[in-house]
């Protein structure tokens, strides 16, 4: 009887130890990941500022940073994985939609079309500011040492950044339409043996229209999170 009990507690301790090591590995990896991403987007920010200071214009700036941008933005696919395996407690779908829309912009919209430089710069700048704030927030959170101004930045700057980014993205997609139509790129016409067709031009229009239902949902989701975080703070202060 006594030995049976001992075995039980030994097993429990082992599973608890395993859980704790898994948790420690996950935290270590996430900390490394978020530091690396913060650094990456900082590098982008610095490169953009240097280019502008040296050349005095934003023309050609996108082409200059395109490769670095694509690298770090694509790396963000890992975040979907983090949600899927449960080490980050966010919905896989929300993260998936966010990351996919970024990847779509960077690989399929800007990558293949000569486009209006201004709108591209607009959303790239917005993304850079947002991502530096977001990844440093996660990093400090994981290190349990969150400076108030980072928390403030994360839950307030999006109010302006998010709409600005959307405007930049929509203007860019819109500007790419004439070239897409002329070149017929990424499109599949009938007849073919799969009996399906795809018109990239109309697809882009549908993507633009989809911002109408999707953007408010994500925006209000952030607003609700903000209220919860700041509201929670007020309650704590009152007690003290």
């Amino acid at each position: 009887m006594a030995s049976g009990e001992e075995d039980g507690t030994v097993e429990e301790k082992e599973t608890n130890n395993k859980k704790r090591t898994k948790g420690a590995i996950a935290t270590a990896w996430l900390t490394f990941y978020n530091i690396a991403m913060t650094a990456g987007w900082l590098v982008l920010a610095v490169a953009m500022v240097r280019y502008y200071l040296q050349k005095g214009t934003h023309k050609g700036l996108y082409r200059n940073i395109a490769r670095t941008l694509k690298f770090f933005q694509t790396f963000a696919l890992l975040e979907v994985g983090h949600c899927a395996i449960g080490i980050v407690r966010t919905s896989v779908i929300v993260t998936g939609v966010q990351v996919c829309s970024r990847i779509f912009m960077v690989w399929f919209v800007t990558n293949s079309i000569r486009q209006n430089e201004e709108s591209v710069i607009l959303f790239v700048v917005v993304w850079t500011i947002t991502e530096i704030t977001r990844y440093s927030f996660y990093t400090f959170n994981l290190l349990n040492h969150l400076p108030y101004f980072i928390k403030w930045a994360r839950y307030n700057m999006f109010i302006v950044m998010y709409p600005l980014g959307v405007i930049g993205e929509l203007l860019t997609i819109h500007a790419s339409l004439p070239y897409v139509r002329r070149s017929g790129m990424y499109s599949l016409r009938l007849p073919n043996k799969y009996n399906v067709s795809f018109d990239y031009y109309y697809f882009l229009i549908i993507v633009m229209l989809s911002y109408i239902p999707l953007f408010p949902q994500l925006y209000f989701h952030m607003l609700r999170q903000r209220r919860r975080v700041l509201h929670g703070e007020i309650v704590v202060e009152k007690d003290e």
Binding site: P191, N192, K193, Y194, N195
Partner: protein, 296 residues
């Protein structure tokens, strides 16, 4: 005699109390009975319509919690609407109603026999579903949330239009398979339609009219039901088979996509049903898989 009070599950406000249990209809006329969810625990499961106050685990004072389920619509209405759509929509494409294809094709018919056959199969499939909804199915729940009708109709109507557009297109490319292979595909489709119908009849016969009892389904004299030996939800297995046959017959990518999405959804449902069978019946046959014999 019991004293019954009913509280709102979220705010714990006292909504009303009753000496003889009447109904909460009088408190808020918007809350018709189908919308009312009454439970013993705020986060627990809803009580059933058939539950009797005497037999519930409560003392002399019973506290129930009320939750508003939102606007409801009957299952029959939803099914009829979501199935009538594809039937009519596909026919519109088949007859090449104006404004779909180029004007010179208006009201023409395809020269490929497989296109005519596809229309017959697709139409028969949805007529069968409509008739089953009216005469065969015995529904466990009377209603579902109203927003489901928009979601479901978008899915069914959308896919039907997408498939029908290409199959009935003037530039449709018929499969290059031999007539022999095509005959096999058609036979698969028809075989599975009969199978699916047989399962629906068998499930209906498990449940006497008006009742909501649940029993383990078993193979009957009908050979199409012998698949119950290996599968918990053979209606979904046959449904997958039907659409597989239709996909192979038409060689149309949108049809393959519809089959795939349907398969994923039905697998989710089958696994859920399989799990609840296992939970409810101690002696549930162990050889059975949810949807695909031995595999899934």
């Amino acid at each position: 005699l019991k004293h019954v009070e009913i509280l709102d599950a979220k705010t714990k406000d006292k909504l009303c109390f009753l000496d003889k249990v009447g109904n909460i209809f009088t408190f808020n006329p918007q809350w018709y009975p189908a919308r009312q969810s009454i439970r013993l625990d705020p986060k627990g499961k809803s009580l059933k319509d058939e539950d009797v106050l005497q037999h519930l685990p409560v003392g002399t004072t019973a506290t129930f919690y009320f939750r508003d389920l939102g606007a409801q619509i009957s299952w029959v209405t939803v099914f009829l609407t979501e199935y009538a759509g594809p039937l009519l929509i596909y026919l519109m494409f088949y007859f090449r109603v104006p404004f779909i294809y180029a004007p010179k094709y208006d009201f023409t018919t395809s020269k490929h026999w497989v296109v005519h056959l596809a229309c017959m199969c697709h139409s028969f499939h949805y007529v069968k579903r409509l008739l089953e909804t009216l005469f065969v199915h015995r529904f466990s729940h009377g209603t579902m949330p109203l927003r489901n009708i928009f979601k479901n109709c978008t899915y069914y109507w959308g896919f039907a239009a997408w498939m029908a557009y290409y199959i009935n297109h003037p530039l449709y490319t018929p499969p290059s398979e031999s007539t022999h292979t095509q005959t096999l595909n058609i036979q698969l489709h028809i075989f599975c339609q009969i199978g699916n119908f047989s399962i629906h009849i068998a499930l209906r016969n498990l449940r006497p009219p008006g009742s909501k009892t649940r029993k383990i389904p078993y193979p009957t004299k009908n050979p199409f039901t012998w698949i119950f030996l290996l599968v918990s939800c053979p209606n979904y297995t046959y449904e997958l088979g039907s659409w597989l046959g239709f996909t192979l017959m038409t060689q149309c990518l949108p049809v393959a996509a519809f089959t795939l999405v349907g398969f994923i959804q039905m697998t989710v449902w089958a696994k859920g049903k399989h799990r609840s069978y296992l939970k409810e019946f101690r002696d549930y046959p162990t050889l059975r898989s949810p949807i695909l014999p031995f595999i899934l």
